[in-house]
Amino acid sequence: MTLSIAEKSYLYDSLTASPSIRPDGRKPHQFRPIEVSTDFLPSSNGSSRIISGDGSECIVSVKAKVIDHTLSDEELIQVDLDIAGERTDSPQVETLMSLLNKVLKSGPGFEHSRLQLTERYSFKIFIDILVISSNCNPASLISFAMFSALNTTTLPKLISSFDDLKVEELPMFDDYDLVNLKLKSPLVFLLAIVGNNLIVDPDANESEVCDNAIIVTWLDGKIRSPIRTLTLNNSYSKGFDPTLLQKGLKLIEENAAAVLTALESS
């Protein structure tokens, strides 16, 4: 997005004012409206599509496969990201992929053991993310879409027995019935730092003039790793006061639950 020096200066001044004045009039803790639809791909186990207020769009599909976890050490969740117009080895895609992999690592609250089928076999899920268009950093958008997809993912129902370590059985599944996975993935929030102010969900304009940005992950009512800083532009980036970090985390803690409720109700 090309803004003239005058425009950038105007934006910076209004954003660093106290209280902070955002170009679209949002409060610092207010998110842009989004539209989410789920479960529209019949051949995937789960799917979701999210459209953000500025036209950014992202589709996530979840597919599952049965593997023998005693034989292989693979991770049970594998993510793949494709941003339209970007090469798969471009820095933006690579950093986002590494972020997503960290977000989805197994830990308390988000146990991969939910995917286990029998003593021997588990489901491995493949999350494919396609960012159709994006005007600003899509990390947060992607995580909302991923959450919606995983929330509505259904897996085949096992009808053979669970204990098959000693006496091997090949797992058999019900022809029609599917079971809800009920795995809630962490949400990623983006906070922009402008002067002494923190604003949540920065749009394209705001990203151009902010000093710095923080990525915060949130799961199960608590902040969790990864927490990172991120530069959203090349011209205005500079360091920031560590107290702002605390302020930012507190801001997320206050507002994240509402976001979660909104996403769950869709």
């Binding site: 599952a64 049965v66 091997e168 090949l170 029609y176």
Partner: protein, 1015 residues
Amino acid sequence: MSSTTVANGRKRLSQGLTVTQKVFVTSRNGNATKIVREHYLRNDIPCLSKACDKCSKLVVPDASNKLPVFILSESPQDLKADNIGKHYIVLDTNIILQSIDLLENESCFFDVIVPQIVLDEVRNKSYPIYTRLRTLCRDSENNSTKRFIVFHNEFNENTFIERIDDESINDRNDRAIRKTSSWYAKHLKEYGINIVLLSNDRLNREKSKLETSTDDEDNTYITKSLMQYIDLLPNADLIKDLVPNFDTFNTTAAKGETLLAKEFTFEDYYSTSRIMGGLKNGSLFQGNIQISEFNFLEGSINLPNFKKPVLIVGSKNLNRAFNSDQVVVELLPESQWKAPSSIVLDAEHYDVNDNPDNDDEEDDGILNPNKNQDAQNMLSDKQRRLLAQDAILAQKSNKNHPTAKVVAITRRSWRQYVGQIAPNSVDKQVGGTQNVFVILMDKCLPKIRIRTRRANELLNKRIVISVDSWPADHKYPLGHFVRDLGDVESSEAETEALLLEHDVEYRPFSRKVLDCLPEEGHNWKAPTNINDPQEQAKDPLLKNRQDLRDKLICSIDPPGCVDIDDALHAKRLPNGNWEVGVHIADVTHFVKPGTALDAEGASRGTSVYLVDKRIDMLPMLLGTDLCSLKPYVDRFAFSVIWELDDNAEIIDVKFTKSVIRSREAFSYEQAQLRIDDKNQTDELTKGMRALLELSVKLKQKRLDAGALNLASPEVKVHMDSETSDPNEVEIKKLLATNSLVEEFMLLANISVARKIFDAFPQTAMLRRHASPPSTNFAILNEMLQKRKNLSISLESSKALADSLDRCIDPKDPYFNTLIRIMSTRCMMAAQYFYSGAYQYSDFRHYGLAVDIYTHFTSPIRRFCDVIAHRQLAGAIGYEPLALMHRDKNKMEMICKNINKKHRNAQFAGRASIEYYVGQVMRNNECTETGYVIKVLNNGIVVLVPKFGVEGLIRIENLTSDPSSSAYDEIEFKLSFMHGESNQTRDIYVFDKVEVQVRSVVDPVTGKRKAELLLK
């Protein structure tokens, strides 16, 4: 465009076409995949009833531009009972699977609707029953009594239903069937035709009763179970016997009385997922089970990785498996391994006094050798795999043979069986329905329990039955009566029984097949001038034929032969070499690939020769007239022409399709006489003498290379010309002219094999004979070593032939023939195969000592030869080869089939000879020489060369004191007390003995057999 609203979940594509989506999960190999299918619905599927005038306006032609044929009658069967009136029947899947025989019966089930969903379910459960059902539907167009249609309810907009959430697939299908019935009921209401839904599923019937009572008047239809419906038919009594037996109508316990707890029960089969897991990780094994013909309680199964077959001993371990079922087995722990039995046990004489009505059973040692089963269940898969490794090692030594038990049956080999009612299971006092046992002709199979009202009437008849089921709590399988063949011992019944048992198709050729024959019929003539343009226009391949009518060709065949496959000629060439030609009947000119005639021939596979009858592979018009190389007429042939030098070495070989005229048709004797007659000096005779000399040289070359000369007890039965009664039995003699024809046929087969393999290296039709593994000869060699200090070498076929020549007994010239006969039994069977299945070194024919071989010289009676002809025609560029003979998969199916049919034909021929020999002996009881060929714990097996018959003499018939007998398996000796003098008599294997031969009827089974008594 009509804008009728579409049901939820469907989308209209055009007028008359809507689409809906089906989503389901398949579990394959442990993986679960989501499948999404589009499903199209149309509104112009007719009801196919002649009474309906609405549907005839709807119909559209199909892909081959044909309109659907309306089949269901406008005035179907009218039943007064229960207010049914004129009605059509809608069938549920279970009815078809259980009582397909009843559906095929001509005296019931006239107008029947098969919903498409039912057809699909039948196909998934049992492909053979599905084929029979489809044949019924296909033949309905031409059949006046049976009118079966398939109604495509899944494609019809009005009758398709979507699955409700949480509904199982079976429930959904049942609902679809009910919807079809109610749609039909409404559709045909105005024509006064009712619908009767037949289902043996109680839940389905209950739900339909509920639905019809709440539905509006128009949609009501009647629901009945099979028995309820049959009870209402006018000919109910006749039909009740044919209703299949699933023990749901068990009348042995009266109401209110508790059934005795059944102590006897077989182990349940493992679940599918357990089996798939076990097979994958090597703890369970799958294979085909063979029941030993000497002991019906012992089976063996050939498994990969195991050198020798694994034994399955005892009825509990056999777990209801039939001979040649495909089963899954689990190895038993080492403590239960044992040696193969040396006792003889057959189903007929075992548990003779069992009551067909009840099943309680005390444990006895022979049936259930392993007492503690619990130890088994503790084994983990890892331990099972270790057990398998131990078993493979144990097989290398001969001591303890690993045993296994059957844990699942993947494919039943059930078919219709011929048998007779066991006389002592019939209660003559009872008049109505009773349970009786049927003993089958096949000795390896158990008794079958059936219910019949006609037990007394059927006592001495050969009957055909079908097996229904073998529930775990029944000692014997359950079956039902299909039809009656006639009195036991009557030759029609016996011949038909024999053919049925050996799966030989003997019904006359159908209309479709006969339509493929040339329309001139017997007036067909070969064209007089090959170069005549008119003839060439009619048959474009004619120009590729050569005119060989100038050659002096003759044929030599058994006396009375009418289907002449082959003819020969020989001519001296100017350069001193011989031009020798073998001409084979050109069957493939008349039998083209892809025709009904070809399909029927491929299915029959071979002609079957019984003593008094011949079941042809191809219609007689071809076999005995148009293709047969009859003398004095022009005939089409496929010729192989060699240039041979005086030492019978092949200088050159040519193949061509030709027109020939045979000068004479000789019998073996006539040809021999003509050759020997010094006064005959014409060219034809000179040619025959040359052929004889060359054939002698060819034979010598073969024997030098190691060809085997084995013997089998071939006998010929002479029939009385007036009454067709068997008169006497003769052993076949070999003349020099037999050998003449044989040698040239072999040469032709070898030359053709090379040519077609060269042209079609992946799919050439060939025949191989694997060399016998040394284990097959192990026992024979041990016996020879012990008793006669001789041995048979297996290093090569030449070594085998030479060592067989050395196996002589100076005191008994027949001994050598005896050893040859026993060696034949140790050989592997020769088999047909396609060249892509093996590598060149495995093409070897051990018995003939050639590196590549096929069957080419008898296309009239063998289908392999028909294929070889087609391939040779392709190889020489006469006619392009049809795709089906270039496709490996299709060739594999063809080879499997002709191997099976070839084997069955041999067994059927032998069984026919056995039967007639039995009839001959019925009239003459006599004393003959016999040789002991096997010694067992409780008997000896004796071969009588004069009749070519072998029989078991049980210990009970050898001595009055069986318990005193002693079996020595090292010395191959059986000792027992003999006669009144109470001396010990020792019988060794290979001993020559005198036996009294007579034909008796077994009191238990009602079967006639040759009884041998030691003198």
